[in-house]
Symmetry: C2
Subunit: 393 residues, 2 copies
């Protein structure tokens, strides 16, 4: 073999998604990118808030001896201090700088967590539909990801979770607001999940961790709140990023926060510091750490996402699509009118509309629309959505 068997297989397995993207690229080349309505990518289109650029200028003005050097692998103490102060208020719990590790985004943070936690054979449970990269993040470190069904509106199904937890379960991974559904888990359901994990942990004689991937925490509508996971369970780790809050996903900046009361807090944090180093992240990018230290709590203006969501929800409802109105994130996850979501997505492609089949998120029979895009393309695409649906009504 030229390269590892597993990597070679992964490249083949993901080929149906790649083919969809290739078809999208072909359509753009053929019809002009401006005439193809691309709702396939979760790449936030909003400009970062003005505070970001101001802080970036300030950080660059301060650039000099030592400002681009190695710092502790867990990140600058002063940045973690600013973050701890902000999070303590946001989560209503006293966090210290040493409960936090700055990371290369949420994807980096999750790899660090799984490398730290997983022994061979350990399983991680996640409610489906889910962000399929989780499979890689868990598999990279010798674990296996198992999915758990959710209710038809994508809220947590506690009895299903109860049944899924076994003596192999090392952690439950949740993502709220969710990609691809936009669903937010309620405080009641999180409290029930916490109680379940405490009970199962006791029964199996092991700590079952709850890992919360929450990069969409600030992207919520209609006055919704994302409950703090820290108030529902003690053995909790937040792995998140500034990618969507500040609209800077290319900069790879995020953090890990461990519940201050976690039983094995010291082992967890030392292990994660080691893993952040040895996985090759070494530390989160220095300049972006400094910038984020200056703008804790700043969020992009989500008015445009809110408008896009309204436009799509009204248009899709008129066209007869069946979907749950998403309270957060910038995704819609409508039901496909035919069982074969890949076939349905191909039909939308004929109208020059690009979306992703639900099968790519462990949610077959659905498709994902990313509405972090310009408003005009939604207006222009809606007739196409209507035309394809009309065939099945």
């Amino acid at each position: 073999m030229a390269i590892a068997k597993k990597i070679s297989e992964s490249m083949n397995k993901s080929s149906f998604i790649r083919k969809m993207f290739e078809e999208g690229a072909r359509l753009k080349a053929l019809h002009g990118a401006e005439n193809v309505f691309d709702f396939s990518l979760g790449n936030p289109n909003l400009v970062p808030p003005p505070e970001f650029k101001a802080a970036l200028f300030e950080a660059v003005e301060e650039s000099g001896a030592g400002t681009h050097s190695y710092m502790p692998n867990v990140g600058y103490p002063f940045v973690r201090k600013a973050l701890a102060e902000y999070l303590s208020i946001e989560h209503g719990i006293g966090l210290g700088e040493n409960d936090l590790i700055m990371t290369c985004g949420a994807a980096g943070a999750l790899n660090v967590v799984f490398k730290t936690l997983l022994d061979p054979g350990d399983e991680v449970l996640t409610p489906a539909p889910y962000f399929v990269e989780y499979n890689f993040y868990v598999d990279n470190h010798g674990g296996a990801l198992k999915t758990v069904t959710t209710h038809s509106d994508f809220t947590l199904d506690l009895p299903a979770m109860d049944e899924a937890i076994t003596e192999k379960t090392k952690a439950v991974l949740i993502n709220s607001p969710n990609n691809p559904t936009g669903q937010i888990y309620s405080k009641e359901s999180l409290d029930a999940l916490g109680a379940l994990l405490r009970e199962k942990g006791k029964a199996f004689g092991r700590t079952i961790y709850l890992i919360s991937d929450e990069p969409y925490r600030k992207i919520v509508y209609d006055g919704q709140q994302v409950p703090s996971i820290f108030s529902s369970y003690t053995e909790t780790i937040i792995a998140t990023s500034y990618s969507k809050d500040i609209s800077v996903p290319g900069e790879r900046i995020g953090f890990l926060a461990v519940h201050p009361g976690a039983t094995f807090k010291s082992e967890l944090l030392s292990g994660m510091a080691l893993c952040n180093r040895i996985l090759g992240f070494v530390n989160a990018p220095a300049l972006m750490q400094r910038v984020m230290g200056k703008i804790q709590g700043v969020t992009v203006d989500i008015t445009q996402y809110e408008k896009n969501r309204k436009l799509f929800c009204e248009g899709l409802a008129r066209a007869g699509y069946d979907f749950t109105v998403p309270p957060g994130a910038f995704y819609l996850f409508p039901r496909s009118p035919i069982e074969d979501d890949v076939a349905f997505v191909r039909e939308l492609q004929e109208e020059l509309i690009l979306v992703v089949p639900g099968s790519g998120f462990g949610g077959p029979g659905h498709f994902r629309i990313a509405y972090c895009c310009d408003e005009a393309s939604i207006v222009k695409a809606l007739p196409g959505f209507q035309k394809v649906m009309a065939k099945y009504k």
Copy 2:
């Protein structure tokens, strides 16, 4: 177990190095940091070149819609194009933008390479002394690192390499200029290594890759040149960073370059793009990619390193230390006058001098001095080096 067994063990194993660092911290707290001579860390102390700050300002001025967004996982095409043009001249071989992947530093690049290449049981060979993090980078992805002895001046020992290569060998990893020895491998020895790998690859019916970790390529003295590995062997991957060229190790920016004639170039590059994504790097930090695209070929002024090297070499020679004058990097790797290098390093600590035992680099009986430091601390530390050595003369 609260965390993975392997991570728990790794934390215990590295405890002797940690204890040395803790003792260093204790000494600094006791005597004041300015009175402790710390040569233990390879954290470049030079300010980045002025071109870096100018390019950084320019990149920040350009900051706006899309400049902090996701880009292709392999990096911005225009940045890779600028890099390809520079590398084509530097290496005297025609490289295209698609032969390159921007990475989160060399540590990120190496993890991506090993994830892409290694099947369970595969071995990677590296000449010792070596950067011990390599053990983690290979083990993270299911391989095993094996060391190969070098000559007493730390140059490549080809017969030893010949003997070490087996049917399990997937790759040879070299680091020239070397950390911890500062040695540079000659064109002749690299040609011989290339010939050996071709021959062994044929004998075992597999491609044996040569991976060149070369972050110290620009840190060389006395008009020395670091030969291009690309001219010695075709199945070669360069994994490197701007950390030392530009003195920005905290920013985590580097790249991978595959030999344009590599047999499985396309599989390698697709596999590495996938692994860069799934390991959680996703892409190299956006802003730093843009900055590096503007300053290809710019290097920090190494006059101060050169002065430090001279000062140390003269002082240590006078004191009776036995060492090879290092042609590159910013390390000296003298022989310890007693076999137990850890004990010797403890004796230096009593003189408030911090260095790292050679055992920490697979080079017992030696110790590493990092001279990327201020000149004054060298002048003040030399009497201490002399005093400790005097006991053994």
